[in-house]
């Protein structure tokens, strides 16, 4: 049996979620009536064990184990839930906040470690790119033509009358400085160091 313990701060998790920078001012998490409308159209819910309604319930019940629950990583960030929730809640946004909490203090960093190359490329060029190992899988899935396209992209762009998409040096310097001062650089390093 579960006990709802006498607890000084029984709404801590909801409050943390609502205080997050990502949280919209009108995020209606408290108003959730557990109707399940979000889950009924959620691709994550139809394909996996993830359930946005249940995730919201656990946040409201201050169940902090939700932060490191594997299922939250099965959300597609498609915002369908957000577009229909009759109570003004936004499960998608809550999910993204929980993932950030997991990255900051839980096991989430390992979930995104493989994407770090995107961050590196961004720091360097101001544009992200698909990390190599995923790219290789794509080439395998899509076919060699895909590789050819990548190699010839500059020429194709020239044919299309488009300029170079690489940012000038001053710009990439600015971006690097911003990302350094915003803490992104440190964050990225931390994520890279985490153990799988």
């Amino acid at each position: 049996m579960k006990t709802i313990k006498l607890d000084k701060n029984p709404l801590k998790l909801v409050k943390d979620v609502l205080n997050d920078l990502k949280a919209s001012p009108d995020l209606g998490i408290y108003k959730c009536v557990q109707c399940g409308m979000c889950a009924s159209i959620c691709p994550g819910a139809s394909q996996t064990e993830y359930d946005p309604r249940d995730m919201i319930r656990r946040v409201l019940e201050n169940d902090e184990t939700i932060i490191d629950d594997e299922t939250i990583w099965d959300c597609f960030s498609c915002y369908t839930c957000n577009s229909i929730c009759p109570s003004g809640n936004n499960a998608s946004e809550v999910n993204q906040i929980l993932r950030q909490m997991s990255i900051e203090k839980g096991e989430g960093a390992q979930k995104i470690k493989d994407f770090c190359a995107y961050g590196d490329s961004f720091m360097e060029m101001g544009i992200g790119s698909i990390p190599n190992e995923f790219f290789n899988v794509m080439v395998k899935d899509v076919g060699n033509k895909y590789m050819d396209l990548k190699v010839n992209i500059e020429d194709i762009r020239t044919d299309l009358g488009l300029g170079n998409y690489i940012l000038p040096k001053e710009s990439t310097d600015e971006i690097e400085a911003i990302l350094d001062n915003s803490g992104f650089k440190v964050r990225l390093e931390k994520i890279k160091r985490c153990k799988k």
């Binding site: 493989d114 544009i127 992209i153 488009l162 940012l167 915003s182």
Partner: protein, 326 residues
């Protein structure tokens, strides 16, 4: 209904358009030039962080600081109306404007970051940008110009059965700003209808995601493609021949992976994938290679062109020869 601009536009470069479907950008420019939309592209503009943001790699503060830099570029060049080619850029930029406007603490933090980076001139002042009046998706601009567009149609595309896939991050994130339907999106249908062509309208799964799900395509490929397949199967049942897109990420999911899914399911989907800009440019008689950029597509567009009465110099077969091979 919101007011949609046709000038002072910063055409916001998209990282996926850049390297996956650059023809989307050239088609957009082609249409803009025809119908008289004044726009500008700035090479200093950075990516919105979109994919990285939704890989959960970027934190909201960093994304917001980079957005402030791009807003500065837009304002300085007197092109404050940002028009995105990608739905993710649209949603991210709108969200960052909102944060910068209502969250004083975040605004101060961003400004401090800019100061520390030696870019004090880029500081953001509250309400510099208006999330509803300065951030648009290209499909909105095209919808607004639909009557003008219809005047330039020279190629008859009415023989194809058309369906639309509306990008989630356009329709469902900032739904109060979405035009032509959130629960039943019809923005692209409206453009196509104005060109005198019917779409199939509503279909089961019309508003469902493409399935890319950012990380899902890479870390959960099976479920990601399961979502894509469901949609493709409904479209196939309805004999759809062209699926229109408004986001390069959706377009990738369908175009790059359709052959893969076909192999897995052991069936053939005869569906071409075109961006709404490519579709309009084609109807306006633009060149498939030097404007639409169909040479970057995985599902070949040449069979579609062959069915058109128009004569095209089809380079499908020798395309690879013109490309450097690896």
């Amino acid at each position: 209904m919101k007011t949609i601009p046709d000038k002072d536009i910063l055409l916001f470069k998209s990282c996926l358009v850049n390297v996956e479907y650059p023809g989307v950008e050239s088609s957009a420019c082609y249409i803009f030039d025809k119908v008289g939309v004044e726009y500008y592209v700035d090479k200093r503009q950075s990516c919105c962080t979109g994919l990285g943001h939704y890989y959960d790699l970027f934190d909201q503060l960093s994304t917001t600081a980079l957005a402030a830099r791009n807003f500065h570029i837009a304002a300085k060049t007197n092109h404050k109306n940002i028009v995105t080619l990608c739905a993710t850029c649209y949603a991210i930029l709108k969200k960052t404007v909102k944060i910068l406007n209502y969250n004083e603490d975040a605004r101060n933090k961003v400004n401090t970051i800019l100061d520390e980076s030696g870019l004090p001139e880029m500081e953001y002042t509250q309400d510099d940008m208006d999330p509803s009046k300065n951030i648009f998706h290209i499909a909105e601009i095209l919808f607004n110009k639909r009557d003008e567009i219809s005047k330039y149609i020279t190629v008859d595309l009415s023989e194809f059965k058309i369906a639309t896939h509306h990008a989630c991050h356009y329709c469902k994130v900032h739904y109060n700003d979405t035009i032509e339907g959130v629960r039943e999106p019809n923005l692209m249908d409206g453009i196509v209808n104005a060109m005198g062509i019917d779409t199939i309208g509503w279909y089961d799964h019309k508003r469902v995601t493409c399935g890319a799900g950012f990380r899902q395509r890479f870390t959960n490929k099976e479920i990601s493609l399961a979502v894509t397949s469901e949609k493709l199967e409904v479209l196939e049942d309805k004999n759809v021949e062209i699926l229109l897109h408004m986001c390069p990420n959706c377009q990738m999911q369908f175009d790059r992976y359709q052959p893969y899914i076909e192999k897995k399911l052991g069936k053939k989907f005869n569906i071409f994938h075109l961006n709404i800009t490519q579709y309009i440019a084609l109807a306006m008689g633009a060149d498939p290679y030097s404007v639409l950029g169909i040479q970057t597509h995985t599902v070949p567009i040449e069979p579609l062109l062959k069915r058109l009465k128009q004569k095209y110099d089809l380079k499908e077969d020798n395309r690879l020869k013109t490309l450097k091979s690896v």
